[in-house]
């Protein structure tokens, strides 16, 4: 499915792919074709995923795990089948290591809470330290702030270099013998930076700290192999990877999931309940209280099939080519300053920038009038804005259906913005 365009090797056949995404035909503002460049916020959904949802609801819908009737068995097989698919997608050693949550935020909170309530050696308490980075999404900051506040643990973090990379020059001072957990993003949602997992993991393992990887911006865009990155937990979210809203994933190492305490209590997560005490089911069920997001898991399974059908390597290559093109064209726009890496190396397909002193809100609004959807604001990563002394950025972000023509539209749109406020 690869088309070649002069100078841009590795592009996918987006003409074919775009036919799978109904919303991309949408016209807005009196007939302007939608140019959707807000993929880091959420992706669009292919027909294949919507079909899976509809088939589930129209033929198989039932509550899972507890029924002996046909629908209940079918629904259970579909739900657990989705777990198999996701496990294979991230190369999990065992399907039982895949926990379905509602989003990446819940996944990260789940880890933080498990560690807060855990017994030794995992317990985070006032004598221990938690390490994150300054480029985390709020969903990988606030859970740790809450944990630190409630346990007395100390929260530390890696700062950023001027070109949007992690500053690991003080690696050994930040991660110390006191560090119980290191949680960081694989790919920055605001700057696109791809972080050097290996270096951080090596140091974390030296001090026996658990490693949590926020793969929300990685899972949709590249091969994600939980064994290769040697993390203990990996979190990501369905809606950014062609899946439905309302579904997230936490992968965790089996022995940890066995040892750590549950988080939410309720139906499905128990082994046996009496009024006096309860025992818990083995993982993953121990961490899935209540009726799970059944249809959404099935939809995520279909999304994973869809992405694998195209190939994660091919998707990564497509985005790499497009990002290179975009970085280069954007750097030609006067007064435009990229916040984050200035090349396509070790970077994902989200590009943040500021345009002179025109506020991103105004940039976004005037682009929208031309049919171009970008995100503006702090992108749930306000510390990055603080770090670079800016109130907000405009962010364009690409996905497997994005095209060079859309990059061109963005650049033209930005010219118009400059003239409008000039």
């Amino acid at each position: 499915m690869t088309s070649s365009r002069p100078g841009l090797p590795g592009l996918l056949d987006t003409e074919a792919i775009r036919k799978d995404f109904p919303v991309l035909d949408r016209q807005i503002h009196d007939g302007k074709r939608l140019v959707y460049l807000d993929n880091a916020a959420t992706s669009q959904k292919p027909r294949q995923v919507l079909d899976a949802l509809n088939t589930y609801y129209e033929r198989h819908n039932a509550n899972v795990h507890r029924g002996v009737h046909v629908l209940a068995e079918e629904a259970t097989a579909l739900y657990e089948g989705a777990r198999d698919k996701v496990a294979a997608f991230v190369n999990a050693p065992s399907r039982d290591e895949v926990i379905f949550t509602k989003n990446a935020s819940e996944s990260l909170n789940l880890v933080a809470n498990m560690l807060g309530w855990a017994d030794e050696p995992y317990r985070v308490d006032h004598e221990t330290e938690i390490v994150i980075t300054e480029m985390e999404h709020h969903s990988n900051i606030v859970p740790w702030q809450l944990l630190a506040q409630r346990t007395g643990a100390k929260l530390k973090w890696f700062g950023l270099t001027d070109d949007g990379r992690l500053d690991l020059s003080n690696l050994d001072e930040v991660i110390t013998e006191k560090t119980k957990v290191v949680s960081f993003t694989l790919v920055s949602n605001i700057m696109g930076t791809v972080n050097p997992v290996e270096e951080i993991v090596r140091r974390a393992q030296e001090v026996n700290a658990l490693v949590v990887v926020d793969a929300s911006q990685a899972a949709p865009h590249m091969v994600l192999d939980v064994q290769a990155i040697q993390a203990d937990f990996v979190a990501f979210t369905g809606h950014k990877m062609c899946g439905p809203t309302g579904i997230g994933v936490l992968w965790g190492r089996q022995e940890l999931l066995e040892d750590l305490p549950p988080f939410l209590g309720g139906g499905e997560m128990i082994e046996t309940v009496s009024m006096h005490s309860s025992t818990y089911a083995p993982a993953p069920h121990k961490f899935e209280a209540g009726t799970p997001p059944i249809a959404q898991a099935v939809g995520l399974g279909a999304a994973v099939d869809y992405l694998s059908g195209i190939g994660m390597d091919a998707i990564a290559a497509h985005e790499h080519a497009l990002t290179g093109y975009a970085v280069q064209r954007l750097q030609d726009v006067p007064d435009l300053r990229i916040i984050g890496p200035g090349t396509a190396e070790d970077r994902g397909a989200a590009i943040s920038f500021v345009l002179g002193d025109i506020h991103p809100h105004d940039v976004g609004q005037v682009l929208d009038e031309q049919g171009i959807a970008v995100r503006v604001g702090h992108h749930c990563a306000r510390p990055v804005c603080l770090r670079y002394g800016i109130p907000a950025t405009t962010r364009a972000s690409f996905y497997l259906y994005s095209t060079p023509a859309e990059v061109d539209a963005l650049v033209e749109g930005l010219e118009y913005v400059r003239n409008f406020f000039g």
Binding site: V142, Q145, L146, Q149, H359, P360, H361, D362, Q365, V366, V376, G377, H378, R382, C385, P391, A392, F420, F421
Partner: protein, 150 residues
Amino acid sequence: MYQEVILDHYKNPHGRGLRDGDAEVHHVNPTCGDEITLRVRYDGDTVADVSYEGQGCSISQASASVLNELLVGKNLAEARRVQETFLELMQSKGQLTPDDAMEDVLEDAVAFAGVSKYPARVKCALLSWMAWKDATAQALGESPVKEKTA
């Protein structure tokens, strides 16, 4: 949305900068990071000054400038009437076409009618007005500030 009047105020803001005041507030629009620090000074029940500083989009900047132009010099009751009318317009979701009476009250601020169609921008337009309301309540000893921290 971007009326000439709005762009004018944005490019040439009235009364910008922080000057002495009876009360100061700091408001933030969490969806986009717009911020304003605003001070009010009263002379009896006359709005003697509204001074402000902040960062934000053209809508929030222009709106603060219009606020300064409209409210300074008015007495409190009149100023509150302007504030309430502006709030009403902004919350109208584009359903309200300002009539003559409203135009008399709002003057330049009627230019923001179009903004009310854009829910994400209504907060920008209201930022300074909410800050003014808050600061006024504090200056008059009507309300304390409350904050929660992680």
